[in-house]
């Protein structure tokens, strides 16, 4: 396994959470650096590792521990591929509204550790909103649970949230429980082309102001112009009315499947409060290819080339209180601009938290903000 040009000296494929915790603790005791690997789809995220000794694969932790369709909950091991989980849930006409870019092949644990999400967050939020329980292997070999398996729970601190998007730096996620959703009663995908950005943005705002907004809305910038694609879901009568009010043309659902497979070797995620997204998009260079999520405030820039253009976009996002994070880039570009951008004002508290869980920086040293 190679991450940003740094090759691991060894790898481990533990068969259980206990084995994984033991391997992690052993590495920590020896002062080694460990990078947890799920599907390997998001290893481009973060700064180049300072050290890398052991690739710790979760691939053998791939069981569905408990699926209770009538309770709308599921508990899975971290190495389970998202597609496998969704196929199982679909048998009960349910789903996890997690539709990240850069697939297929994401594992559940990897998605939680990276905090990736997709277009459906417009309606369903991110994993932060439907993750109900975690089990995490800590560098001292302990296995700690937080939350539970029920859909509503305020027992103890909500440590689930701390691990989301932490790139494994507080511990390696080995098991997760989710609240599930029933598949929509009725659903259509509609599309509209636009020549210029302003026209496209106005249409996006119109879609968002409908009495029943789309559950997902993507604004795509390609070489030839702009496309808007929306996913309308709800009761049959309701969807029919909204489709009529919106007036966009029907298009195959396949669009979303293909969108989820888009990614790039050199790409970034821009995030800003929804009302400021248009200004940030205008700051991107004309030839840029990107997909934006109006109403959410997030955009994926797929054709990242020069450090200068990226710096300008990051400055525009940060000026609005947002951020620009590299999801994958050459080691050179990472060294030049840094993966994460300006550190948050609370960085000291974050450092203390990291030190409380991973005092020797065993997990992914150098890759995360802390």
């Amino acid at each position: 396994m190679v991450v940003d040009g740094v090759e691991a000296r060894a790898s481990a494929r533990p068969a259980s959470a206990e084995e994984l915790a033991a391997a992690l603790a052993e590495a920590a005791a020896e002062g080694l650096a460990v990078i947890p690997v799920g599907g390997g789809r998001a290893l481009g995220m973060g700064d180049p590792p300072a050290r890398f000794d052991l690739a710790l694969y979760t691939s053998r932790l791939d069981r569905i521990v408990d699926f209770s369709p009538h309770d709308l909950t599921v508990t899975v091991e971290a190495g389970l591929p998202l597609e496998t989980l969704q196929a199982e849930l679909a048998k009960a006409r349910q789903f996890l509204p997690l539709d990240p870019f850069g697939g297929p092949g994401h594992t559940v644990g990897g998605l939680l550790a990276t905090g990736w999400s997709g277009p459906l967050r417009l309606r369903y939020g991110t994993a932060r909103d439907y993750l109900v329980g975690l089990r995490v292997a800590l560098p001292d070999g302990k296995l700690a649970r937080s939350g539970g398996r029920v859909v509503k729970n305020v027992s103890g601190y909500d440590l689930n949230k701390l691990h989301l998007g932490a790139l494994g730096t507080l511990g390696v996620i080995v098991e997760a429980s989710f609240k599930l959703f029933p598949q929509p009663l009725h659903e259509v995908t509609v599309r509209r082309e636009a020549e210029g950005f302003e026209e496209a943005w106005r249409e996006a705002e119109r879609a968002l102001s409908l009495a029943m907004p789309p559950v997902a809305l993507a604004l795509l910038k390609a070489d030839s112009g702009y496309s808007l694609v929306a996913r309308l879901a709800g009761s049959e009568e309701g969807v029919r009315r909204i489709q009529r009010e919106l007036g966009w043309a029907r298009t195959p659902f396949l669009f979303w499947v293909e969108l989820a497979e888009s990614g790039s070797r050199s790409w970034a995620r821009l995030a800003v409060r929804p009302q400021a997204l248009a200004a940030v998009l205008r700051s991107l260079p004309a030839p840029a290819r990107w997909v934006a999520q109006p109403g959410v405030g997030v955009a994926y820039w797929f054709s990242l080339e020069s450090a200068g253009a990226f710096r300008a976009a990051r400055a525009a996002a940060e000026a609005e209180g947002g951020s620009a994070v590299l999801l994958g880039a050459s080691t050179e570009l990472k060294h030049e601009v840094g993966a994460w951008g300006s550190p948050p004002a609370t960085i000291d508290l974050m450092r203390k938290l990291r030190a409380a869980f991973d005092p020797k920086c065993t997990i992914s040293p150098g890759r995360y903000l802390v």
């Binding site: 939020g125 909500d158 009568e237």
Partner: protein, 478 residues
């Protein structure tokens, strides 16, 4: 508390805003739980800077600090079990901004939940979490406890709606966590502070999400012969892919008390009454409610009634939200837990709840969030009866135990506080609690913020006895 500390507090917030007369302190002895303890002083800061000063003074004198909203909490979160300072945020009650464009509001912690929703409604928006105490409870308290409410079934709990907070730590330092960037790089400090029950930080500002008011809301009341039939109906609705905005159940005892008080039109011969609310487009709400009604009726529902207008809807809800108060008709005092179970286990757990109550010779009335399996068994009693509290507490503990044995958890929305911290080892092992303690130690290394809560507390038993005997006449305060 020594004179020096008191003088400093008076200087920090103004002498009028520090209460230390023993007679006045009694007012802040309790929250809505069954324990109480006197603070040494009550301090009412006016703004963040004053909160920070108070915390610095407390740190210098080694005084515990317990933040307090409206005191409607049910788990003892606002009880000053180690005495020290009760920090009331009541004076910080301004709505600072409602940003209709970004659909957010920024408020001070003392803003009352319902006041925010009403202010937002003027711009066609609403704040989703709606605890039954929403007429009194504050947004700061809601954020500290991660409160729920009937409409959380569809809309989610408080943590799903808080975007950012300004907090003051025990050392007096002020921090902004979260914000409106949807993908903030860095650890989610906001996420772990919401629901931390005042043990890690004092919340001084909250930015929340607002949602557009739905075009249509329809509310249906349905009666069932038994709790079992009603529970099956609930499962059937959800199995058909319908997640209503709210799905609430009341048992026979509750219906009787509520009907006598509110005349909401609940059939008093019902074994259980369900309230179902569906919102959205006019067409969707209608279509979904028709489907819901058919499903309920195929599960033995009778006397189904859809509220004809807003007034009727509010009456149906008044009964549900005022249910616990109405139970005063049966006995003057109540005690309730809010354990959660997987929804499919509701009928058997409710049966066990009834058995436990019978064994302890205590009446119990159930009103709960059926959609998400969140129980609220109200144990009814009269505090003037000698020795009744021991039976009440024992019964409550056994009911919670039944929830845990069914794969559930201790609390869905009320918090752990000092009511259930001794039971934490039922669901969390030493390693789980140790992980939580590490986080606590980062934010509050001296352990001065709301001590004796959330974590199992070796000093608890003694402290509670002290608390009890510290009350001149317990019954007086019920």
């Amino acid at each position: 508390m020594n004179r020096g500390a008191l003088e400093q507090l008076r200087k920090a917030v103004g002498a009028d805003h520090v209460v230390s007369d023993p007679h006045d302190l009694v007012i802040f002895e309790r929250d809505a739980s069954i324990t109480g303890a006197l603070p040494d002083a009550i301090v009412f800061p006016a703004d963040t800077a004053e909160v920070s000063k108070v915390l610095r003074i407390a740190a210098a004198h080694g005084l515990p600090v317990v933040p307090r909203g409206a005191g409607t909490g049910l788990s003892g979160g606002a009880v000053t079990i180690r005495h020290g300072i009760a920090l009331s945020l009541a004076r910080m009650h301004r709505i600072l901004e409602i940003d209709a464009g970004n659909r957010t509001a920024t408020v001070e912690p003392g803003v009352v939940n319902l006041d925010l929703s009403q202010a937002a409604a003027r711009q066609g928006l609403f704040y989703a979490p709606d605890p039954s105490s929403q007429k009194a409870c504050t947004i700061g308290g809601n954020a500290a406890e991660n409160s729920g409410g009937p409409h959380c079934l569809y809309y989610g709990v408080t943590s799903n709606h808080v975007l950012g907070m300004e907090v003051v730590l025990a050392d007096g330092s002020v921090h902004r966590v979260g914000g409106d960037n949807p993908d903030r790089p860095g650890l989610d400090l906001l996420g772990v502070l919401v629901g931390s029950e005042g043990t890690m930080a004092v919340i001084t500002k909250i930015q929340v999400k607002l949602l557009p008011l739905p075009e249509a809301v329809t509310t249906l009341m349905a009666a069932f012969p038994t709790i079992e039939t009603a529970s099956h109906a609930v499962s059937d609705v959800i199995a058909h892919g319908i997640v209503p905005a709210a799905l609430e159940m009341m048992d026979h005892a509750t219906v009787g008390a509520v009907e006598a008080h509110y005349r909401a039109g609940y059939p008093t011969d019902a074994g259980a009454v369900l309230l179902v609310e569906v919102d959205g487009l006019t067409e969707s709400a209608q279509e979904l409610m028709d489907q819901v009604r058919r499903l309920l009726e195929s599960n033995e529902a009778f006397s189904c009634r859809v509220a004809a207008d807003a007034a009727e809807r509010e009456l149906l809800w008044a009964g549900r939200k005022g249910a616990i108060g109405a139970l005063g008709r049966i006995k003057p005092n109540y005690y309730l837990h809010d354990g959660v179970v997987p929804r499919t286990r509701l009928p058997e757990v409710l049966r066990q709840v009834g058995e436990v109550a019978g064994r302890y010779r205590l009446p119990v009335a159930n009103v709960f969030h059926a959609g998400d399996g969140n129980l609220h068994p109200n144990i009814l009693f009269d505090l003037r009866e000698t020795g009744v509290m021991d039976r009440v507490e024992k019964a409550g503990e056994e009911m919670l135990r039944a929830c845990i044995d069914a794969g559930g958890t201790l609390s869905g929305e009320h918090g752990i506080g000092l009511e259930k911290n001794a039971f934490m080892p039922w669901i969390f092992g030493p390693d789980d609690l140790d992980a939580m303690q590490r986080v606590k130690d980062v934010f509050d290394p001296g352990g001065s913020l709301n001590p004796g809560k959330v974590f199992p507390d070796a000093e608890r038993k003694e402290a509670r006895l002290l608390a009890r005997s510290g009350v001149a006449s317990e019954a007086q305060w019920w």
